[in-house]
Symmetry: C2
Subunit: 188 residues, 2 copies
């Protein structure tokens, strides 16, 4: 638990100082210029290095992406845990959804990277994904409700990021509709 009022994330994978710099540069590149800009050669340019030298710090691009995803999950999990820990009684679900949406929309490219297909989940720090998803269980108190609420939040975010809703949609109301659905359906 600790003084922050919610459980600490599992220990992150250790990284050399230079590896930390590489991840930071990769993240800036991804967030500012989009996923197609995250290229070993362009990342090398940012670092003042040739692309093959990056392989001195990470065995390949997937490993580098995994490091970025670990950071992203820690930050997202922290935001979600804080949201439910600080919510008034009965307000956990709406508070969680607001935090989820805000965090994802604030880091759209990182969110897409972390939730995209084809990532080597078995190489991720043990328990990190579970810890990041725990707030959904804390807010609903029931595992299937938690999974369903998570699916709703994730679906909303990806559809919103991809501009898949009708142009004049009032998405605040759609999020509210989902929140109230899961609140009224919550077990006693």
């Amino acid at each position: 638990m600790s003084s922050r009022g919610f459980p600490a994330p599992p220990p992150a994978t250790v990284r050399s100082p230079r590896a930390v710099q590489v991840v930071e540069a990769a993240r800036r590149l991804l967030e500012s210029d989009g996923p197609e800009a995250l290229t070993m050669r362009r990342l090398g340019d940012v670092l003042g290095i040739r692309a093959p030298s990056i392989y001195k710090h990470f065995p390949g691009k997937p490993a580098l992406e995994l490091a970025m995803i670990e950071d992203a999950l820690i930050e997202l999990g922290t935001a979600l845990h804080r949201a439910v820990a600080g919510a008034a009684r009965g307000e956990a679900v709406p508070s969680l959804l607001v935090a989820y949406r805000a965090h994802a929309l604030a880091h759209p490219n990182l969110y897409r990277l972390a939730t995209g297909a084809g990532l080597a989940r078995q190489d991720m720090a043990d328990g990190l994904e579970d810890w990041a998803g725990e707030p959904f269980y804390l807010a609903t108190g029931e595992p299937h409700q938690a999974q369903a609420l998570w699916a709703f939040a994730h679906g909303m975010v990806v559809l919103e990021l991809d501009d898949r809703f009708l142009p004049d949609s009032d998405l605040d109301r759609t999020w509210a509709a989902g929140a109230s659905a899961f609140v009224t359906a919550a077990p006693a």
Copy 2:
């Protein structure tokens, strides 16, 4: 409406006979060998053709993917319209969700292609996306409920396809939890 009991899809883009063959081959390749196998050269091999010759039929890979996505949306929309049209009173939402899940899991790679980021939506046949999403409005009777239900279904499918749920999850129950949440929250 017509005799099928639900509105017909908007007219599809016209394709030359050879273009139809190209799309069919591309679809078989994608469904059987996954997205990384859908390559212009490999597609050419399947067709007994060199990769540059494909450009006689489609201006580029995105246009070819768009054609595949149009087919996918027509099929998905047909399945969803049929599900709500044939559902007993009050059973529209569960019936819709069952059809959505079944269709997506039956064509996982095509579903991912159609719902992935970065597709040129403005080039798609007018009204096709709206028509395919219409069953969600028909099942809920309210636009924000419809969007929220769609987000839940899409989120469930992508999380299920990506194996992001805990290994021993009973996903039938999770789908049921979402269905009942939206049913009990539905307006009078």
